[in-house]
């Protein structure tokens, strides 16, 4: 009788611990999903902004047809890769980021274009979207790290393997050019 009660209590406690860990895993996984959706929103916003930017820049940048074309091409490639996994997608998006930053660097040679109000507004939007992409990537990777830690560390890894929680992929940008770019500060 007493043994039965004790076993019952132990099973009950184990069940509660199991449920708490399971709910924690679900919460973390949802956080990862949300963070991924956030990146997706910003990447789509970039696809929408680029054609406008290219269109506005075209009239001023007669000698930069190649640059503009490479931007459009990289954009289309990235859009095609948007249904692929995190790793492949990150590569295409990284490529797009680097051609874009090249374009915005070239713009410095065109004072007329820089005086265009429409272009300035677009440029602010694009620069901010770039920032939002990297911040949402940052948040996504933090969320993935926390989630993966939980699926791999004891005791939550037992619950994770029993209920089919798999580690998520990081969104890494591996472009050497972007890594090495120095910090540019033009304040004042």
């Amino acid at each position: 009788m007493l043994a039965g009660i004790i076993i019952g209590i132990i099973v009950g406690v184990l069940l509660i611990i199991f449920l708490i860990i399971y709910n924690g895993l679900v919460r973390r996984r949802n956080q990862v999903k949300n963070a991924w959706a956030q990146i997706d929103v910003q990447l789509k916003r970039r696809y929408d902004l680029i054609p406008n930017l290219v269109e506005t820049a075209k009239g001023y940048m007669k000698h930069e047809r190649e640059t503009l074309e490479s931007v459009t091409k990289a954009r289309n490639l990235a859009q095609q890769a948007s249904s692929a996994g995190a790793g492949e997608r990150a590569k295409a998006e990284g490529e797009l980021s680097s051609v874009l930053s090249h374009l915005l660097a070239v713009v410095e040679n065109y004072p007329d274009l820089k005086a265009n109000q429409n272009f300035l507004a677009l440029q602010e939007e694009l620069a901010s979207t770039e920032n939002k992409i990297s911040f949402s990537r940052q948040y996504y990777n933090d969320s993935v790290l926390r989630y993966n830690n939980q699926t791999q560390m004891f005791p939550s890894n037992i619950v994770a393997s029993m209920t089919g929680f798999k580690a998520s992929e990081f969104f890494e940008v591996t472009l050497a050019a972007e890594r090495e770019a120095p910090k540019v500060s033009f304040s004042q």
């Binding site: 910003q42 930053s101 915005l104 901010s128 939002k132 990297s134 911040f135 910090k183 033009f186 004042q188």
Partner: protein, 401 residues
């Protein structure tokens, strides 16, 4: 990151309970002295506190924003500010975009308010908006967003209400006590033999009435300062760029203007103390904020952007003493400081352009119509202007209103 929020909540709760105990003691002595019943005093003290808290909880943010004459802006009013707030919202993982307000004041300051992360607002003075470049603005906004994210806003609001109640009760209590005992018109106790005890209660109550507000204020300041360090650390983590906030604080530190619409109770809400004096000491107990110079030195000493790096930098500046970030959240490895910045920022507006931009927004928010004349002059047409045509005072061209 979550462990640190939780552990900070525990620490703050302990301190808040300390303040609550002070409130109860005040009620106890008040009741004992005026009504011969400690219970009545307790009821009065708690009633006053509950009423003030309810007002603060439901109306606090709108009261604060109205008091500081803040104006709400939309995306189109100031795209750069809106974008920076949105960037920090994303970096911090906040679910809902906070409301953005501008305070028309040349003083440099900013604050966050709202009782929970889904109902938050960020306010910035127009002076600060035109003084800071994009990186610095990002640092300041990140600091404010981390106040929202770490749930400092509600805690500080509730603490300041608790402090306000204690100060209020102690102030009236001590006045009544002093005048009551001078004129002898105090309600006498029923038994005659209590004279000695009455005097002891009087003295103890009086001493307590004087000490309680001071003690409560010290506790309040202690909570507030810890929160400031934590918000700085979080801002560095979100932006991955501590220099942005450091350089913004430097600009804030050299300003001398005091914010007109701030008062003592709302002071901890701001990014820097609105009533600060120059040359404040590092060990100053009676300040809601750590000295700016110290905050800058810590941020500049950071080798990376993680909490761990902030903690190490803090120890470098302080040499010993307890840390500011709970150990549980320090396990995270070092996070590198971002070196990637878009070239697009090269064409960022300079300070004069920012000043023009900000003043345009302020005129528009006051319902003024702005007409740009071909000669370059800007005509501000007041909302009550009735004429259909306006003449440029500079070159004489006429414009349709």
């Amino acid at each position: 990151m979550w462990e640190q929020i939780r552990s900070n909540q525990i620490r703050s709760v302990v301190l808040t309970i300390g303040m609550g105990a002070l409130l109860i003691l005040i009620g106890y002595f008040l009741g004992l002295y005026f009504f011969d019943s400690a219970f009545a005093g307790l009821v009065i003290a708690i009633l006053v506190w509950v009423i003030l808290s309810l007002v603060g909880y439901f109306q606090g943010d709108s009261l604060l924003l109205t008091m500081s004459r803040a104006k709400k802006i939309k995306r189109d009013d100031h795209p750069r500010l809106y974008n920076v707030v949105e960037e920090m919202k994303i970096a911090s993982g906040l679910e809902k975009m906070p409301n953005i307000y501008i305070i028309d004041d040349p003083a440099l300051n900013a604050f966050a308010t709202g009782r929970d992360p889904n109902r938050a607002s960020v306010a910035i003075t127009s002076g600060l908006l035109q003084k800071l470049n994009r990186d610095e603005l990002q640092g300041v906004i990140a600091h404010e967003i981390s106040h929202i994210k770490n749930r400092d806003v509600l805690l500080m609001a509730m603490c300041s209400i608790l402090l306000g109640t204690i100060v209020l009760l102690a102030w009236y209590g001590s006045r009544f006590l002093i005048f009551g005992s001078m004129t002898g018109s105090r309600r006498s106790s029923s038994s005659g033999g209590g004279g000695q005890a009455q005097i002891i209660i009087l003295v103890v109550s009086l001493v307590f009435m004087i000490l309680a507000p001071i003690m409560a204020q010290l506790i309040y300041f202690a909570i507030s300062r810890k929160r400031e360090y934590l918000a700085d650390a979080s801002a560095a983590l979100y932006t991955r760029y501590p220099e942005g906030l450091a350089s913004a604080l430097e600009k804030l530190g050299t300003s001398t203007g005091q914010l007109k619409s701030a008062n003592k109770a709302t002071a901890p809400m701001y990014i820097i103390n609105p009533f600060r004096k120059k040359g404040m000491k590092a060990s100053d107990l009676s300040s809601t904020h750590p000295p700016i110079s110290e905050r800058i030195r810590i941020l500049r000493a950071m080798a990376g952007a993680s909490f761990n790096d902030y903690e190490q930098a803090y120890h470098q500046v302080h040499r010993g003493g307890t840390g500011v970030i709970p150990a549980a959240s320090l396990a995270a490895e070092t996070v590198p400081i971002a070196t990637i910045k878009l070239e697009g920022e090269a064409s960022e507006p300079n300070e004069i352009q920012r000043a023009r931009e900000t003043s345009d927004v302020m005129w528009r928010l006051s319902n003024y119509n702005t007409i740009t004349c071909d000669c370059g002059a800007k005509l501000r047409v007041p909302p009550k202007f009735k004429e259909p045509i306006i003449k440029c005072p500079h070159c004489g061209r006429t414009h349709q209103v």
